[in-house]
């Protein structure tokens, strides 16, 4: 079975800067001849790297969406979200290894994660809210240690390997590939439209000329900040390579520089930008809209190229396709939920659960539902065993220390 092995570390050595530029400052993506079957090597690895990055981003996006339902909308303090992810991922992968179709296995992963939410909720939600935090830390640590040390089922720290990836044997025709690209295009267009609406709403009634000025100033502010920070990064790397200063001093210098820059820019923002630019918020809206749409367009571009060259690495490209769709569907579903009267009850519980109770809402039941749905989202890998693929133990550990 083709097994996705993306080594981010080796790929990162290829000197690929932002936007996929190579060291000569040109973007191979733009020069890519779509008719050749085998694109030049640097491009292949670049797209591969970017695709892996997209998949990774999608995993974390799903992870945060579930967590946001808990913390952001219901006010449930959950420190062990990684436990849901781990349960879901292991269930999905192990079931699919046992021959269960991948879609069903993913559903089962989500369901089991939801059950974990139910178990945690039933045991702690009637107590003071600190207990939920404590128990989630405990459970997630428990699951991590079990998965890491258990050899028979989860294969300990090696992680499970060699299972089918979804769509790994899928060999789409040109028409199918174009269809897949069109689906992503539709998602991108829809997101772009929503972004546009948001911007228009936020910019209503702001003078155009003033807005342009503000946006330019803010762009300069952000750009100079980025330049300063990368300067600090490069200098400290050079200093480290030169090996003249002891490590402790270097770290102090680095910290000092970061604090100084942060303080200076904080001061500029507080003293100059906010008081002098009455529409700085509108400027920020405009800037972030531009940045977000550029980013979205870029993601769409990369994924379209990757999908067109599906055969380059079917499992990885298939994974990306499924991951993007899963994120889009989950996001849409959650938006719809939190805007519904159901979501209003969650927000009320976050604000003051005594009021929710006094107004006849079954607070306990809603908290349970929130825990289960958030867990389901984290556990529902939609795409098979992503977490394991990217080294579940390491990711899990990071996520645990979030």
């Amino acid at each position: 079975m083709p097994n996705l092995q993306v080594n981010l570390a080796t790929l990162a050595h290829r000197d690929l800067g932002p936007l996929g530029m190579n060291r000569y400052g040109s973007c191979p993506l733009l020069r890519y001849d779509f008719n050749t079957d085998s694109p030049p090597l640097p491009l292949r690895s670049m797209v591969g790297y970017l695709v892996s990055l997209i998949v990774l981003t999608a995993i974390y996006a799903l992870f945060s969406l579930g967590l946001n339902l808990h913390w952001g909308f219901t006010g449930l303090i959950n420190f062990g979200h990684a436990a849901f992810l781990a349960i879901g991922a292991y269930t999905t992968v192990l079931l699919s290894l046992a021959g269960v179709p991948i879609g069903l296995a993913a559903l089962a992963g989500g369901a089991l994660a939801a059950l974990l939410g139910l178990a945690i909720g039933v045991s702690t939600l009637r107590l003071r809210e600190d207990y939920l935090a404590i128990v989630t830390i405990g459970v997630s640590e428990l699951i991590r240690l079990m998965a890491l040390n258990e050899e028979w089922l989860t294969k300990g720290s090696f992680g499970v390997q060699g299972y089918d990836l979804p769509l790994a044997d899928f060999r789409p025709t040109v028409a199918t590939r174009i269809g897949m690209i069109a689906i992503l295009g539709a998602i991108a267009a829809l997101s772009g439209w929503r972004l546009w609406q948001w911007m228009v709403r936020r910019l209503r009634g702001v003078d155009r000329a003033q807005l342009g000025q503000t946006a330019l100033v803010l762009a300069g502010y952000v750009a100079s900040l980025v330049v300063l920070f990368s300067g600090i990064g490069m200098t400290s790397r050079a200093l480290k390579l030169a090996n003249t200063l002891p490590g402790g001093v270097l770290i102090l210098l680095l910290l000092g520089a970061i604090v100084a820059v942060g303080w200076l820019y904080g001061w500029i923002a507080r003293r100059l930008i906010i008081p002098k630019l009455p529409h700085w918020e509108a400027g920020a809206v405009l800037l972030s809209t531009i940045a977000l749409s550029a980013f979205g367009f870029w993601i769409f571009g990369v994924s379209a190229v990757a999908l067109y060259n599906y055969r380059e690495n079917p499992s990885r490209n298939g994974l990306m396709f499924l991951a993007l769709i899963t994120v889009a569907v989950t996001f849409w579903a959650l938006e719809r939920l939190v805007r519904s009267p159901w979501g209003r009850v969650l927000k009320a519980i976050r604000e003051d659960e005594q009021v929710a109770k006094a107004l006849g809402k079954n607070v306990f039941a809603y908290k349970l539902q929130s825990l289960m749905i958030g867990g389901f989202i984290a556990g529902w890998r939609g795409v098979s065993g992503l977490a394991v693929e990217y080294g579940i133990s390491a990711q899990f550990r990071d996520a645990n220390h979030l």
């Binding site: 519904s340 009267p341 159901w342 009850v345 927000k347 009320a348 976050r350 005594q354 109770k357 006094a358």
Partner: protein, 260 residues
């Protein structure tokens, strides 16, 4: 008005033998109270007499050590607070509690009962019905907000309301649940005199439409002008009960209020 000394009809709320102690403090001690349907009943007493605690016991926000509470002919002392609200008895808080990061209108919409859209599965399949219910609830909410003078604030965050406005929102929200009986904990505290007058009129209006009220209040004008019957609580126990004028002339009550 009915003869208030004998109660010919079943009370909408009746509680007897309620006891609650916090550590050594007996906050409520063998308290009893009855609310006749369609009446406005007052509950007064010095600070720390146990009035708010009694409300908490009636609505089961705090579980009583002993005693019975009967609402609408059925015992409710073992029901969770939200079910008591669903049955038609809603309480407000002495220190107004608003949902700060929700708009005033959303605060109101939350109070609507039996909303299809509050069921997780329905949100997916019953979009049309939910939209219709939301429209109806919105109209009703705006009506109540208008009558209480908060309509311009409907779209603002409730966290931005002043103390008095929060108090008003608290009352409006309780009304939004379409209750049979409302327990109001000091509705006039912190509200300016013109508005107090307006609130009183509003309560009177609702009462004529058949809603019952149980009101804790230190403002005697409010009690005198609204209430059919007044209970006096002192140190957790019933001290007196009667019409406002009877209470005003009761020497025990005067003594409790003036101390010694």
């Amino acid at each position: 008005m009915n003869d208030t000394t004998t109660i010919p009809i079943l009370p909408v709320l009746s509680a007897a033998g309620l006891v609650k102690s916090f550590g050594g403090v007996v906050a409520v001690n063998e308290a009893a109270i009855e609310v006749v349907p369609g009446s406005i009943t007052g509950l007064i007493g010095p600070n720390g007499a146990g009035k708010t605690t009694l409300f908490n016991l009636l609505s089961n926000f705090i579980h009583p050590d002993r005693g019975r509470v009967i609402f609408d002919g059925e015992p409710i002392q073992n029901l969770p607070p939200h079910e008591i609200t669903q049955r038609g008895m809603v309480r407000t808080f002495q220190v107004a509690r608003v949902l700060s990061r929700l708009s005033v209108l959303e605060n109101m919409l939350l109070a609507a009962q039996q909303q299809t859209g509050e069921n997780f599965w329905s949100t997916w399949f019953l979009g049309g019905r939910i939209a219709k219910e939301e429209r109806e609830a919105r109209d009703r909410a705006m009506e109540i907000l208008a009558s209480i003078g908060l309509v311009e604030k409907a779209q603002d965050y409730a966290g931005g309301l002043s103390g008095g406005q929060r108090k008003l929102l608290e009352i409006a929200r309780a009304l939004m649940t379409r209750p049979k009986l409302i327990l109001l904990d000091e509705p006039a505290a912190g509200v300016n005199p013109t508005l107090i007058h307006q609130i009183c009129e509003y309560i009177g209006d609702r009462n004529r439409q058949g809603m019952s009220f149980l009101i804790i209040e230190h403002n005697m004008d409010v009690i005198m002008s609204l209430c059919d019957r007044v209970y006096v609580l002192a140190e957790g126990s019933n001290l007196a009960v009667g019409t406002p004028s009877e209470i005003q002339t009761n020497p025990n009550v005067l003594e409790a209020y003036l101390g010694q």
